[in-house]
Symmetry: C2
Subunit: 169 residues, 2 copies
């Protein structure tokens, strides 16, 4: 393919075979673009949207195309290597992505300051189990998101006007 890259970069042997295994199982090919995109996602700290991912990828190889990013995200989603988030549409309709390698958690989006908190409790695990048991539904993907006010913003809000008068209009 078009990318003259040294295949070292920041991927070690172990990671590579893991990815290769995941990607090639079933017919998906391990292309330079896919390797690069997965690397970027794995190494990123925050929550990436498609446009940011494209921007970062273009820094390594400017020839990569938007469509490839979207197609790769779709693939990784199907393979369960990443999760797709909406983050309560705090920043419009775009989606965010995070690797599934980290431990499970859900997201709390502060409507005031825009901060995204990650959290988890054993009750979430229990809830998932109950859902399956009670409904017979096999959960493949689950997304829990809340919007509201973080602790800091709450403190500020208390000394300001009421929510109701701000909400209407």
């Amino acid at each position: 393919m078009r990318m003259g890259r040294k295949s070292s970069e920041s991927m070690n042997g172990a990671n590579r075979s893991y990815l290769a295994q995941k990607l090639t199982k079933g017919g998906a090919r391990l292309t330079a673009q896919r390797k690069m995109l997965v690397e970027i996602i794995q190494n990123s700290t925050g929550h990436l949207d498609a446009a940011s991912l494209l921007r970062l990828a273009k820094r390594r190889d400017s020839r990569i195309h938007r469509a490839t990013v979207y197609r790769t995200l779709e693939l990784l989603k199907r393979l369960r290597l990443i999760d797709e988030l909406d983050l309560m549409h705090l920043e419009g309709e775009k989606h965010f992505y995070e690797p599934r390698t980290r431990s499970e958690h859900f997201h709390l989006a502060c409507f005031r300051c825009g901060k995204i908190l990650e959290h988890n409790t054993p009750t979430f695990e229990r809830l998932k189990k109950e859902i399956s048991e009670q409904t017979g539904f096999k959960i493949e993907v689950i997304r829990l998101e809340a919007g509201g006010q973080c602790e800091e913003c709450r403190a500020q809000a208390d000394s300001s006007q009421s929510d109701a008068s701000r909400a209407a209009r």
Copy 2:
């Protein structure tokens, strides 16, 4: 305004004052369009998207505009009269809406047959409480959605090919 309507329709006095109260609290005006849209949403059984809502509204008054529907949905969301759902993007990126009058529940979207199940358990309530207690976050909106396979589709899937080979590519 442009709509020559008898203000009776299917809204009774109690509902009307409830809406009037909710809408006018803080400056929002009780227009004929808003009353109509809220009525349609309240009386609808399934999950409405903006386009369906517009279609239904046009049946009552063809002059209502798309933008009004979107603006009203935005308003109702802010006033907490409706919840916005993504339903795991089973049908593209559009949003669905449901009145908050029904009791709380979350949604399970079957990737196979497209069915949307509604469910709830006391553990969900407990989870919300724990989130607030543990993080200090004040939850204003919460959305729990799962995607996977419903009981019926699971039975069928068992006698068919494996998930993995279907997912890759």
